[in-house]
């Protein structure tokens, strides 16, 4: 791919050439474009890969459905529009630093005024005998991943050599490709750079339980043909491992071949030596990104590379810019589903440093803080198992904030909600919030005071949180905090179209007898409505007037699930859940469900709510499916929407020898009574036939348990993410009393709860609360 013939013209502008079109090379070009560099320079970039720059940080997502286009850093038109010539699949093979020209693999030569080396790094493959056998790979480019994917199709097992950060990411990828995966690490623990011994051991345990075999302190001596698999890896301790695919991830090395050839100064262990402005030993040649060696250090992360790109662009164009001053290498990641975080001096190498450690072998968490001798400053930290503590610790570390008098509170578990946070107010204005794009707290405050009033707007203007995305939670907090400080009221209005709460709207609809969204909007709102107020009002109208929700004037208020009586799945098909009150079903109906599933090739699953879910129906099939189901008496189970779901039930006294009442009949009666009710959030019920509680009624919004004296009613329980035990509301009720009580409770809930508030949260938020 190239636009070079269109763009390379004879101009007398000096030529600025960039070698390497990776993430940093691309960022450099963005900086040039922003600074209007094409007015002074003719700009050309050569990249060895067949594609223009893409997001290498999220490379693994190429295996989970993203394409090159999803990962691309820009469109080719970005280069055209900014007058930047590019050529891909173009390797630069030599630099003549005296004559100031470069040579491409095909022999073409170009002279330059300024040259920028952004050649990144290459994966290190240990020189083990057999390392170059077929079916061995590295993990760096899209081409690498294509090759791995192809090989994985015929492989059963895969092994990653190297248990560092990238190695574990690669192991996850192999596992997701369906291979039985192993990791072989030379060091005595996983992630030796970031983790200490305890942290490494814990991570190892967690990863092993996920089915990935981990070999630490294991040196591979040679790779030969295997008996049962493609390769046999022989280890120094005499053991061996057979595997079909080998992936080397034993570290990266700066790509400095060109610099060496041009006799630029390179480090002893590689890397192109640069000064604070990213100039190499030749004033007109710069190096940025992973190939550059600054004060003896290589930076294997994207954020420092971006800083270098900015520094170099400013310097070349003669702008007064900042110098490169190094970068923080703290990292937080999710590896194979396990949270891992490492900050600063994780290995406690600072003399006389002290530490706090918290470890829980039951929950698999480990947290360590390394602090200064007097306990006032955070020097480093290690986190395994739960990264929710990371952001706060990082801010203490980066900004040198004095620790609280009980520093251990920063890593101790908390009984509810989030860990102890650092008040955003405590952060200095210079605190870096997004390190990828170097956005400080002050930058955010300034952006907001110059008119960006929403999180999205702040993101767009500052680019904060658009790099690796690790700062998104913190960014939101800072934005909220700044808005609050400016006196922007954090309102309880349901959205920009109605300055009312859900409860207000409910009352307005009822008292003014409002029957449609348009009426309500005309009378009490403004604009056209949005995805928040439309379904909320649609729901209120249905609760109050019980109109058919798909009537012409209501249909545009309904989410797709409500509109098509089925649940949209991630591929855009639907799942259909017919109502089966109380879970009681006849053999004939079961047969019809089976026949329909077979006919339309639907995946079937028994749900936790005692019914049958039919997955994979296309929109066009839904009417046919429903026609067949309705013909035998089924109706929608409303497994969607904010409505009554199921009434779970045990079989009760009819069959069970312990049963004291007919829970089955009661469950069916209740389900038929409340089905179709629209409420602030979904409602689940259950009825048990005795105190053994087989239907788990005490974890439901409405739970009923049979007693010798009638029914006990439990209310506002919840399972799910935040379980809540239901409260006993009344005891020994008759059938009639039971129904009356449930009626009243639901009426009160529908009238007074907030939008999307489950009964459990509603109960706790009621004035006076609930005391038992």
């Amino acid at each position: 791919m190239s636009n070079i013939t269109q763009l390379i013209r004879n101009t007398d502008k000096p030529h600025l050439i960039i070698v390497g079109n990776g993430m940093v090379g691309h960022h450099f070009i963005e900086q040039l474009a922003q600074l209007g560099a094409h007015q002074n320079y003719k700009i050309t970039v050569f990249g060895e890969e067949p594609n223009l720059a893409y997001d290498r940080v999220h490379l693994s997502e190429y295996f989970t459905g993203k394409s090159y286009h999803d990962l691309a850093m820009s469109e080719p038109s970005f280069y055209d529009n900014n007058d930047i010539a590019y050529e891909t699949s173009a390797r630069v093979t030599a630099i003549d630093s005296l004559a100031k020209n470069i040579q491409l693999a095909d022999g073409r030569e170009f002279s330059f005024e300024k040259l920028i080396l952004a050649t990144g790094s290459y994966p290190f493959v240990p020189p083990i005998k057999g390392h170059d056998r077929e079916n061995t790979f590295v993990y760096r480019t899209l081409d690498d991943l294509d090759a791995i994917r192809e090989c994985a199709q015929s492989a059963k097992t895969g092994t990653v050599v190297g248990g560092g950060l990238l190695g574990l990411e690669a192991a996850n990828a192999l596992k997701n490709l369906g291979l039985k995966t192993s990791v072989v690490e030379f060091a005595p623990r996983l992630m030796p750079v970031q983790l200490d011994e305890t942290g490494g051991a814990l991570l190892r345990n967690m990863i092993s339980t996920l089915g990935v075999d981990v070999y630490t302190a294991t040196a591979t001596t040679q790779i030969v043909a295997g008996n049962d698999a493609v390769h046999r890896m022989e280890f120094a301790n005499g053991d061996y491992l057979e595997t079909d695919l080998i992936l080397f991830s034993a570290g990266i090395r700066p790509q400095d071949a060109l610099a060496k050839q041009a006799q630029l100064k390179v480090g002893e262990r590689g890397g192109i030596v640069v000064n604070d402005y990213c100039q190499t030993s030749h004033d007109d040649i710069y190096a940025i990104g992973e190939c550059a060696l600054w004060e003896g250090r290589i930076f294997g992360l994207v954020a420092p590379g971006y800083s270098m790109a900015k520094v170099a662009a400013n310097h070349i164009l003669g702008f007064q810019g900042e110098a490169f001053t190094g970068a923080d290498m703290s990292t937080k990641l999710k590896l194979l589903g396990c949270d891992v975080g490492s900050i600063g001096d994780a290995h406690q190498t600072t003399p006389s440093a002290k530490r706090f450690v918290y470890q829980d072998d039951f929950l698999n968490v480990y947290r360590k803080m390394v602090v200064s001798e007097d306990g006032t400053k955070l020097l480093g930290a290690v986190l395994v198992g739960d990264n929710s503590y990371y952001d706060t610790l990082l801010q203490y570390y980066l900004n040198g904030i004095t620790l609280p008098s009980n520093p251990q509170s920063l890593i101790l578990p908390v009984s509810d909600g989030e860990p102890v946070g650092l008040g955003i107010d405590m952060l200095p204005a210079t605190a870096s919030i997004c390190s990828c794009h170097n956005v400080t707290k002050q930058d955010i405050a300034e952006t907001i005071s110059s008119g960006s009033m929403t999180l999205g707007e702040v993101k767009r203007v500052t680019k904060a949180s658009t790099g690796c995305g690790g700062c998104s939670a913190l960014l939101k907090k800072v934005v909220d905090n700044e808005l609050l400080a400016l006196g922007v009221e954090v309102s309880t209005d349901i959205c920009e179209h109605f300055s009312y709460t859900r409860q207000d709207l409910y009352n307005l609809v009822k008292i003014d007898e409002i029957k449609t969204f348009k009426e309500l909007l005309d009378k009490y709102g403004k604009g056209k409505g949005c995805e928040v107020c439309k379904p909320a009002v649609g729901n209120i109208l249905a609760s109050v007037w019980n109109d058919f929700v798909l009537k012409k004037e209501h249909v545009s208020l309904q989410d797709t699930n409500d509109r098509y009586l089925a649940n949209m799945q991630k591929d855009g098909t639907y799942s259909v859940v017919p109502r089966i009150p109380g879970g009681e079903i006849t053999p004939d109906k079961l047969i019809v469900l089976g026949e329909v599933a077979k006919k339309y090739n639907l995946y079937t699953k028994i749900t936790g709510g005692q019914r049958i879910d039919l997955f994979g129906a296309t929109l066009s099939e839904l009417p046919h499916i429903w026609e067949e189901l309705i013909a035998v008496g089924f109706e929608t189970g409303q497994a969607y929407g904010k409505s009554v779901r199921t009434v779970k039930s045990c079989v009760g006294s009819t069959w069970c020898r312990f049963g004291v009442n007919d829970s089955m009949t009661m469950a069916i009666d209740i389900e038929n009574r409340y089905k179709g009710l629209r409420s602030p959030h979904k409602l689940k019920f259950a009825v048990s036939g005795c105190t053994r509680e087989c239907a788990e009624a005490q974890s439901k919004d409405i739970g009923v348990i049979a007693t010798e004296g009638g029914w006990n009613l439990y209310v506002c329980g919840n399972g799910g993410m935040k379980p809540r035990h239901a409260d006993l509301f009344a005891t020994d009720l008759t059938d009639q009393q039971l129904i009356t009580y449930i009626d009243r409770l639901l009426m009160f809930y529908v009238k007074t709860a907030d939008r999307l508030q489950r009964t459990s949260v509603w109960m706790e938020s009621l004035e006076g609360g609930w005391t038992t």
């Binding site: 179209h497 604009g527 545009s556 797709t560 855009g572």
Partner: protein, 107 residues
């Protein structure tokens, strides 16, 4: 520009979307009944990776009319296709209404 006839006005749903197939591509068409204004954009949700945009709710955000993906709720401006939550743009189509017939043309 070559216009293609795709459906009639009756096929549209006020304040909501429908999907049509033209030149082997799925296009979502939305109707704002206030001034009978039509919008047409690709039915493909680039984030959710499915042809579902026509099934999203129409939402006005700070005066801009958008459609919210029914899968992950990102909102796209109906007239430009620009996503307001992510750095992504949906292809849009030229659309017109003539004598109760809806016409599309690629942009």
């Amino acid at each position: 520009m070559s216009w293609i006839k795709v459906c009639s006005y009756e096929d549209l749903v006020a304040n909501a979307g429908i999907a049509v197939k033209v030149m082997d591509k799925q296009v979502a068409i939305f109707l704002d009944p206030e001034f009978n204004q039509l919008f047409a954009l690709s039915n493909w949700d680039p984030i959710g990776k499915a042809n579902v945009m026509s099934r999203g709710l129409m939402a006005e955000i700070e005066g801009v009319l958008t459609v919210a993906s029914p899968l992950y709720k990102q909102k796209y401006c109906l007239s430009t296709g620009v996503c307001i939550d992510e750095d992504i743009v949906l292809p849009i189509w030229n659309v017109k209404l003539e004598n109760d017939v809806v016409w599309l043309a690629p942009k």
